[in-house]
Each structure stands twice: as structure tokens, then as C-alpha cells.
């Protein structure tokens, strides 16, 4: 008993090395919140935190979707447009006919699974297949709703407006989804299958597990999370716009990397993703609070990302 307890209390060097990236991002996140708070003390109030965090909720959820795919070693370059498409469906079909809308959303999750299955069976790189799919999502979104608009179902709008006292509302979905993804990807046997595929598909096959099943699970989970992200985004924007989330595609990848994930598959970092996503979301807040000249804003954003990652290298050196 004691021999298992001691290593759990004192994290091993290997474990520290693994969590270091997320820790560095967390430090950056806290630093940014501190900067914001010093410029604008209201940031630390419940309503201030709600304001600052709410925009990051859909991003964080989409990043969880990206993370599940990165866990099997794939990358999704279509997630941004997919989330956009979901907002469109939400703002149209889900309002006029909730049943049909719900079925369409389920169908979209299924189409993600099919995409994963095809990627696996045809042995094509996910990067390019999802890139192709992103054009399709965009086209479908424009087809359903050529111009941004529509309304959100009442229950969703109510969720978007929900303002509990004494608790920043956006934290709830962020933590809930992260816990869910943690249970799925890090604790369950489904998660083991997914990570095993990203880690060493041969071992998976030798053990008699079908890699196809693992990939299909991962894509289904990613599709479902994408739908969730789209619903939350629609609740915040009050309508559908297929191109509203196009920046998510690269941002989610950045969030996963900031959270300690890797491109090579095999690891799942749901809590890191929360930190990475919130950190990225905070950058715009910091930019608008500091009086950064218009032209320089994107450069500052780039430099902040690089600085966080540089900090990681430093910590990594120390830990080695």
C-alpha cells in the first residue's frame, strides 16, 4: 500500500516533465489575469470573470474535440467550420423543428464518425481529409443559411443568459466538459483504446483490438464535442453564422499544444486544454486592456504565444 502512496504524493520527475507544459501555461494564464486585474479590478468580480471567460467556452470545448483527435495522432483542420455549421443548424432547423434539428445534429456526429472510418480504411492523412471536409462543412452551412441570422431555441438562449449569483457561469460548462472528456479519454477503456492507437497501433492490433474501432470512437467523440461547442457558441451569438468560428481551427491546435498535448498522439490532456484555451482566450482581453497600437496587436498575440512556449522550454531544461 505505502509503496503506491508515496509516488502518488511526490510526483516523479517523469510526471513533472509531462505536466510542466500545462503548468507553464497556467502560470501565463494567472499572470494575464493579474495584469488584467491590475488594469481593471472589476475583472476579478463574478460578473467580470463571466465577461472575460464566456467567450472562451466554445473555444475550449472545440479544443477538447481537437484533443481527442490528437490523442489518436490525427489533426482536425475542419473543426472551425464544423462548429460554424452547427451554429447554423441550431439557428434554423433546431428552432423550427426541434426533432428534425436534433436528428440532423446526430447525423453530423455520425458523419464525423464516417469521416474517421473512411480516413482509416482508405489510409489517408487526417490533416488533408479534414481540410477537404472543412470545405464541405462551409458549403453546407452556406447552403442552409446563406446569410448569417436565425434565432436560437429558447432553452439555449436561456442558457446563454444564465447568470448565477456568486459563481461565474462560464466555468460550469468548461469544467463539466473537461471532466467528461477526462473520464472518457483518460480513465475509461475507450480512452485506452484511443490513446493506444495514437501511441502504437501495432500493439493494439496484436492484442486483437481493431484500430478502426478506436478511430471511429475518437471521431465520434470529436463530432459530439464539436456539436456541443456549436450549441454553446450559438447560445452566445444568438444566431447562426457558418464562418463565425473559422479561427477555431488553428486556435484549437494551439490550445492543445499550450495545454501539453502533442502531435504524435497517445496522450490526452483535458485539463491542460482548459488552461491552454482560456490562456488563448485571455490574450484578446489583455490586448484590449493594454493600449496596444492597432497594427501591433496581432504581433503581440504571436509573441505572447511564443513566450509561453519558450517558458516551457526553460522549465523543461530545468527539469531534465
Amino acid at each position: 500500500m505505502s509503496e503506491t502512496l508515496v509516488p502518488a504524493l511526490l510526483p516523479s520527475r517523469a510526471r513533472m516533465r509531462r505536466t510542466a507544459p500545462a503548468v507553464v501555461s497556467a502560470v501565463a494564464m494567472i499572470a494575464m489575469i493579474a495584469v488584467c486585474a491590475s488594469l481593471q479590478p472589476d475583472v476579478l468580480s463574478v460578473s467580470g470573470l463571466s465577461l472575460v471567460l464566456s467567450a472562451t467556452v466554445p473555444l475550449v470545448i472545440a479544443a477538447q474535440a481537437q484533443m481527442t483527435l490528437m490523442a489518436v495522432g490525427d489533426i482536425d483542420l475542419g473543426i472551425g467550420n464544423f462548429v460554424g455549421l452547427i451554429t447554423v443548424i441550431t439557428a434554423t432547423k433546431l428552432v423550427t423543428d426541434p426533432l428534425v434539428g436534433g436528428l440532423i445534429l446526430l447525423g453530423l456526429v455520425a458523419s464525423y464518425a464516417v469521416l474517421g472510418v473512411l480516413i482509416h480504411l482508405r489510409k489517408v492523412p487526417s490533416l488533408i481529409a479534414t481540410l477537404g471536409a472543412s470545405f464541405v462543412w462551409l458549403g453546407l452551412g452556406m447552403f442552409v443559411l446563406p446569410t448569417p441570422g436565425g434565432t436560437t431555441p429558447e432553452w439555449l438562449a436561456a442558457f446563454g443568459m444564465w447568470q448565477p449569483a456568486g459563481f461565474p457561469a462560464p466555468l460550469l460548462p468548461i469544467l463539466l466538459v473537461a471532466a467528461l472528456v477526462y473520464l472518457l479519454s483518460a480513465r475509461s477503456t475507450l480512452g485506452v483504446r484511443m490513446r493506444a492507437l495514437g501511441s502504437n497501433p501495432v500493439a493494439l492490433e496484436r492484442a486483437g483490438l481493431r484500430p478502426l474501432a478506436s478511430r471511429a470512437i475518437a471521431y465520434t467523440a470529436a463530432g459530439a464535442l464539436g456539436v456541443l461547442s456549436g450549441l454553446v457558441l450559438a447560445s452566445q451569438t444568438g444566431g447562426g453564422d457558418v464562418s463565425s468560428a473559422s479561427s477555431y481551427t488553428l486556435m484549437t491546435v494551439a490550445a492543445v499544444i499550450l495545454g501539453g498535448g502533442s502531435f504524435y498522439g497517445g496522450s490526452a490532456v483535458p485539463w491542460g486544454v482548459v488552461i491552454g484555451g482560456v490562456t488563448l482566450g485571455l490574450v484578446s482581453v489583455v490586448l484590449s486592456l493594454l493600449d496596444v497600437p492597432t497594427n501591433m496587436q496581432s504581433a503581440v498575440q504571436g509573441v505572447i504565444v511564443l513566450a509561453v512556449l519558450a517558458g516551457r522550454v526553460l522549465v523543461g531544461k530545468v527539469l531534465r
Partner: protein, 348 residues
């Protein structure tokens, strides 16, 4: 006429006094959804110029411009507006990336007691004031003179704008209606030019080999690229709808394309008008919720004047002063003819 700005500065002082007595001078924030093209840059430049001046004149305490980085992303803009709200501006001017996505956050701003002026785009919101150019005018000015110019018959290509945007739908409808009035005109192709010269150039080039002789290209201010496409294909440049920027106007001028081409674009000076609107609103003046301001149309007669003052990437903007703004408000309220601001001179 170019010194209008000075006049407005001095005339505004009495109002400022009122504002000062009422307490602090206002803090104006502008959130811009996208900064990646010349029009938006001109819009921001004009605003910063006017706001800087207003600050120097003591009309406002400070101003702040935030551009959503990256692509035309509504989500980024939502985040930025939320963080702007934390800084408690008195008025918030918004050039939205997407007209719908901002509705909830605008509602939030209003409930926080911020005066919101949305410009350059229609938005369906009870609490925000909207100032925009008429897209019907835009499409009409882009098509009518051109079709007249080619004598009401021949082949045309229609170059659509940012497909998927509200304005584009409106404009396409208008264009179709006008084309219907000219039975002699045949539409041989409809391309997606995205109101952007570079895109239009490639799109038109892609169809040029497959269509008969083209007499005109009805666009939304992408004529420079379209003209380039014809040059590449070794064909004479037909009548086109130019951008209102220096590059296109000078090209038009230098190549003596006198075939009914026009230049038309919405007015990047809207941001300045929106600034005056916000100040007037803060002074509790009566201003309609929805206002349409004139579009920028450069016909051949004014072309050389505009061409001489604009830098290549700078778009023609009406020089709204506070007076001119109030005149236009009056015109809107009374239903009178819109104000025609003077063409700025090089000195102004």
C-alpha cells in the same frame, strides 16, 4: 471647404462645455471585426484622425480602437467587446464582423448603460443605433451607369460580393432587378468576386476563355482586378465597377477607360459619422435609430479630383464634420435630399 473639420472643432466647444458641466468627458471605444483590407484600414485611419482631433479639442476624454485579429471572426469580436465593456466606455462604436453574432453582446452592452452605435452593417437590435450606407444604392450605382454606358445591350459578367453576407443578398437582388430592365443585356456568367480585386481577378480570368465577348462586368468595387484579368487574357477592358481607392482611380484615369465605368463603394467615413452620432447621443440629442448615409460614388467627372488625393490603398471617404453630420441627420428626419459632402482636397 476642406477646413470643415476646424469649424466643427470650434463649434463643438459649447456642447463640450455642457458635457463638462454634466461631469466627465466621454470615453469612446470602437470595435472593428476585421482589419485585413484597405477599406477597413481607411475606416480606422479616418476614425483615429477624427477622434484624436476630438480629444485634442476636449470633446472626448479618450478613445480606444480594438481590431479583432485574424480573419473576419465574429467570435473574436465578441470576446473583445466583452473586454471593452469591462473598461466601461460611454459609447461603443461597432463595425461588426457578422451582423447577427453580436446581438447578445450588444444587448449586454446596452444593459450596462453603454450607448451603442453600429455602422457599416444592418443589425437587428432594439437598443443599438444603426448607421449604414444603402446597399440598394450601391448596387444601383454600380449597375445603372455601366449598363447605360454600354448602350443597354451586350454581354455582361456579374461579379458577386461577399457571398453569404446580408448586404450581398440585397445587392444581388437589386442587380438582378436592374438587369431585368435591360432586355438587350445578357448575363454570360456570374462569378464570386467577393468585392475584392484579387479574388475577382482570378474568378473572371477563370471564365474568360469560356464566354463570348464581354462588354461589361457589373461588380461591387472590384474593377481593378477585373481589368487586370482582361489584360492578362489579352482582351480589351470592358466597362467595370472600380474600387474607390487611389490605385483603381488612377488606373482608370491613366488608361483612359472611358466606356461607362464607374467607381462605387460604401463610405469608410461612416466611422467618423458614428463618432459624431455617439457624441450627440450622449448629449441626448434626438437621433433616429436607423439612418442611411450616402454611398461614395465616383463618376468620371469627379474621378481626377479623387484620384489626385488618394493613396493607392486609401478609399474615398466623405469628410464628415459635426455640422455635416447634423445636416444629414436632419435630412434623414425630414426625408429630404441627402447631404452631399464636398470632395476633400489634397490640403484637407
Amino acid at each position: 471647404a476642406g477646413c470643415g473639420a476646424d469649424d466643427s472643432g470650434t463649434s463643438g466647444t459649447s456642447d463640450t462645455a455642457a458635457a463638462q458641466t454634466a461631469g466627465e468627458k466621454p470615453f469612446i471605444a470602437l470595435s472593428n471585426g476585421f482589419i485585413g483590407n484597405g477599406w477597413r484600414q481607411t475606416m480606422i485611419a479616418k476614425f483615429e484622425e477624427a477622434a484624436g482631433k476630438a480629444q485634442a479639442d476636449g470633446l472626448i476624454s479618450k478613445y480606444k480602437v480594438v481590431n479583432a485579429p485574424g480573419e473576419n471572426s465574429a467570435t473574436e469580436q465578441v470576446a473583445q467587446i466583452k473586454s471593452l465593456l469591462l473598461q466601461k466606455p460611454d459609447a461603443l462604436l461597432i463595425d461588426p464582423a457578422s451582423p447577427t453574432a453580436l446581438k447578445p453582446v450588444i444587448q449586454q452592452a446596452c444593459s450596462a448603460g453603454v450607448t451603442v452605435v453600429v455602422f457599416d452593417s444592418a443589425i437587428d437590435s432594439e437598443c443599438a443605433y444603426v448607421l449604414q450606407n444603402s446597399f440598394v444604392d450601391w448596387a444601383t450605382y454600380a449597375a445603372k451607369p455601366l449598363l447605360e454606358g454600354i448602350g443597354g445591350k451586350g454581354n455582361v459578367i456579374v461579379s458577386r460580393g461577399v457571398v453569404g453576407s446580408q448586404p450581398e443578398a440585397e445587392m444581388l437582388e437589386t442587380t438582378k432587378k436592374i438587369l431585368g430592365e435591360y432586355p438587350g443585356v445578357k448575363t454570360v456568367a456570374t462569378v464570386n468576386g467577393m468585392c475584392d480585386g484579387a479574388t475577382a481577378q482570378k474568378a473572371v480570368l477563370g471564365v474568360l476563355s469560356s464566354v463570348p465577348k464581354v462588354d461589361g462586368v457589373v461588380g461591387c468595387g472590384d474593377g481593378y482586378g477585373v481589368a487586370q484579368a482582361f489584360t492578362t487574357a489579352g482582351k480589351p477592358v470592358p466597362a467595370v465597377t472600380f474600387e474607390t481607392n487611389g490605385r483603381a482611380l488612377n488606373y482608370w484615369k491613366d488608361n483612359k477607360i472611358d466606356n461607362g465605368s464607374v467607381a462605387v463603394m460604401s463610405d469608410p467615413g461612416q466611422s467618423v459619422a458614428a463618432l459624431w452620432q455617439a457624441l450627440d447621443l450622449l448629449e441626448k440629442r434626438d437621433i433616429p435609430k436607423q439612418m442611411t448615409f450616402p454611398i461614395v460614388l465616383v463618376e468620371q467627372k469627379d474621378r481626377d479630383t479623387w484620384a489626385s488625393i488618394l493613396k493607392p490603398d486609401e478609399y474615398a471617404a466623405w469628410p464628415w464634420t459635426r455640422e455635416l453630420f447634423r445636416e444629414q441627420v436632419k435630412a434623414v428626419q425630414t426625408g429630404g435630399a441627402p447631404v452631399q459632402p464636398p470632395i476633400p482636397t489634397a490640403a484637407g
